[in-house]
């Protein structure tokens, strides 16, 4: 049994960023262990992506089948379980995405192995097993999780944990096509319809830069100033539960305990008081900037940089200043 497997997610013909990050990190883990790294790609009409992956990984296992156009544990999970039985990897990593967090716990129990969710680091221990670092209790405590016996060691990992590296090499990995055993009668959950958000922006969980406004923005009609700043920075817009509860923004945009956990390189909070439920969602952001009119707002306890002031004055000025700086 050997090898690190990365479960690669793709959407609309592109490999997701978190998967590329995992391939970057996986490569280092594999070289530390002296093992190979393989990419696993399931979907429909994924040929070009398999070619791309072959330049990054030692092997690429591919299922390319109409039944795999939409994800279901009945198709993806059963096939992966078979593949793991056949090839016996020691580690299986995936993104802490919607799909990863749906699939991995199911698969781990099917394989009677261990699973660590939503990890913020993966390292190698003295015994050559992996150590999965993960926040618990909303980030109040961190835990190092190990897998005493069962293999593969399975974990989902957040975005922006492993830095993206350019992996493409001339040496080509082997592409191995797998025929699925499933047919349409064995897939019980059926996607009837998928409605895409028309924003075209990367999701909060994957964004490099997030700009957010809380109740301090006063109303939905004012969010355009945040959107404009986001536009200049190519950032994704987020918000607080208070704003979502007021129906000023969609729940998809909510950051925090009952929303999304983000880990961007830069997070900017405007008119957000910094309730624990919110800050639990921003803990692993690299740099945090807060602007609030109250000097004692809790958010300043979490921020790296703070400005006490009126967001209606500061946001447009920031937009203009960034625009100027970026055009230089």
């Amino acid at each position: 049994m050997a090898g690190i497997w990365i479960f690669v997610e793709q959407r609309d013909g592109a490999i997701r960023k978190v998967s590329m990050e995992l391939l970057s990190g996986g490569k280092e883990l594999a070289s530390t262990l002296g093992e190979d790294m393989a990419a696993v790609l399931l979907g429909y009409q994924v040929g070009p992506m398999a070619e791309k992956l072959a330049k990054c990984a030692d092997r690429v296992y591919v299922i390319d089948d109409p039944l795999f156009q939409y994800y279901s544990a009945d198709s993806y999970g059963e096939s992966l379980a078979n593949m793991v039985h056949t090839y016996d990897p020691s580690v299986l990593l995936g993104g802490s995405t919607f799909m990863g967090r749906d699939l991995f716990p199911w698969l781990a129990s099917r394989l009677a192995t261990g699973y660590a969710a939503d990890c913020t680091d993966i390292t190698i221990g003295d015994d050559k097993g992996i150590i999965a670092k993960r926040p618990m209790y909303g980030g109040k405590v961190l835990a190092d999780v190990v897998f005493p016996q069962a293999r593969p060691q399975m974990a989902t990992v957040r975005s922006n944990v492993f830095p993206l590296k350019s992996l493409e090499e001339a040496a080509r990995g082997e592409i191995i096509h797998i025929e699925p055993k499933e047919d349409s009668s064995t897939i019980r959950t059926k996607v009837e319809r998928a409605e895409k958000k028309a924003t075209g922006k990367v999701d909060l969980t994957e964004a490099d830069i997030v700009v957010a406004a809380g109740r301090g923005i006063k109303g939905p009609e004012n969010f355009h100033i945040i959107e404009e700043l986001a536009e200049v920075l190519n950032a994704t817009v987020g918000t607080t539960r208070a704003v979502v509860d007021n129906q000023w923004r969609d729940h998809n945009d909510q950051i925090g305990k009952s929303g999304k956990i983000i880990s961007p390189k830069l997070y900017m909070a405007f008119g957000i008081s910094g309730a624990i439920h919110h800050t639990m969602g921003i803990d692993t952001s690299k740099v945090i900037v807060a602007v609030d009119k109250k000097p004692n707002a809790l958010i300043f306890d979490y921020a790296d940089y703070g400005i006490v002031g009126d967001l209606f004055q500061i946001v447009p000025a920031l937009t203009a200043e960034f625009k100027k700086a970026l055009s230089e």
């Binding site: 967090r101 261990g114 924003t199 009952s258 500061i314 920031l318």
Partner: protein, 259 residues
């Protein structure tokens, strides 16, 4: 229609939690029903009310405090409560939790199983999918809408995925994990609370379930707990407007190289 709801009593989001040693946590005594489990209980009650018949049972695996999760479920309107309790279940992982729950649930009739998207203590979100796997039933995670077909043989659910929403159907019996947005959980009424205090809680231990400690050996182990790294103290940018904006942009670009 028989509906089972998994409930877990967890430290409140506001409870102070510290790593006392590598293997022990110091948890402030403030517990409540897991945030996401409230949506699960509420949805079960709504399905029953809509169909005009059926039974809602709440199930927990845990000792002492776990009973409060069951009582909350009863106070909201659940009909029955089951507790699985055993000293051997003190420190188990999601795998063993799901396996034990599966063993119990196999002996129960059910059409729908509801649980939370994740327990806000361990934040794993592993128990629902793993339980569905052990039971061999389909499951949908993180749902924000659930409709049971009139013939009670199929369900249609909506869930939020990155950048969109999916509408999915699946045959019953099935398991669903509840995300915020599924409903607005009711606040228990006085009569409900009274009923919960008197409610009979049916208890099961490992032996009653026909499981041995070997069956539930965890697959993962926590090597150590530790506090998150402290962020350095905030640097307040004290210059007057608009100078402060210029300073911030300069720091983010030149020092932090964030933009």
């Amino acid at each position: 229609m028989d509906i089972l709801v998994l409930v877990k009593q967890v430290p409140d989001t506001e409870a102070i939690i510290r790593a006392q040693s590598d293997t022990e946590l110091d948890i402030e005594n403030k517990y409540s029903l897991n945030f996401f489990d409230e949506f699960a209980v509420e949805e079960a009650l709504r399905i029953k009310e809509k169909l005009g018949s059926g039974k809602v049972a709440v199930i927990t695996l845990g000792s002492k405090k776990a009973v409060d999760a069951l009582r909350r479920g009863i106070a909201m309107g659940a009909d029955e409560a089951f507790q699985i309790e055993d000293p051997a279940l003190e420190e188990i992982d999601g795998y063993a939790t799901a396996k034990t729950l599966a063993k119990f649930i196999e002996s129960q009739g059910y059409d729908v199983i509801l649980c939370g998207k994740q327990a806000i203590d361990d934040d794993s979100g592993a128990v629902g999918p793993a339980l569905a796997q052990f039971l061999g039933i389909p499951y949908l995670t993180s749902i924000v809408e659930l409709k049971i077909a009139a013939d009670k043989k199929e369900a249609r659910a909506a869930r939020e995925i990155e950048g969109g929403t999916e509408i999915i159907t699946c045959p019953l019996p099935a398991l669903f994990t509840a995300q915020k947005g599924l409903n607005e959980p009711r606040i228990p009424q006085v009569a409900g609370v009274m009923k919960a205090m008197k409610a009979q809680i049916q208890k099961f231990d490992l032996k009653a379930l026909g499981l041995s400690p070997e069956d539930i050996r965890p697959k993962t182990k926590i090597l150590k707990f530790y506090p998150p790294g402290k962020r350095p103290p905030v640097k307040m940018i004290e210059e007057e407007f608009p100078k402060n904006v210029e300073v911030l942009v300069k720091i983010l670009r030149e020092q932090e190289k964030a933009i």
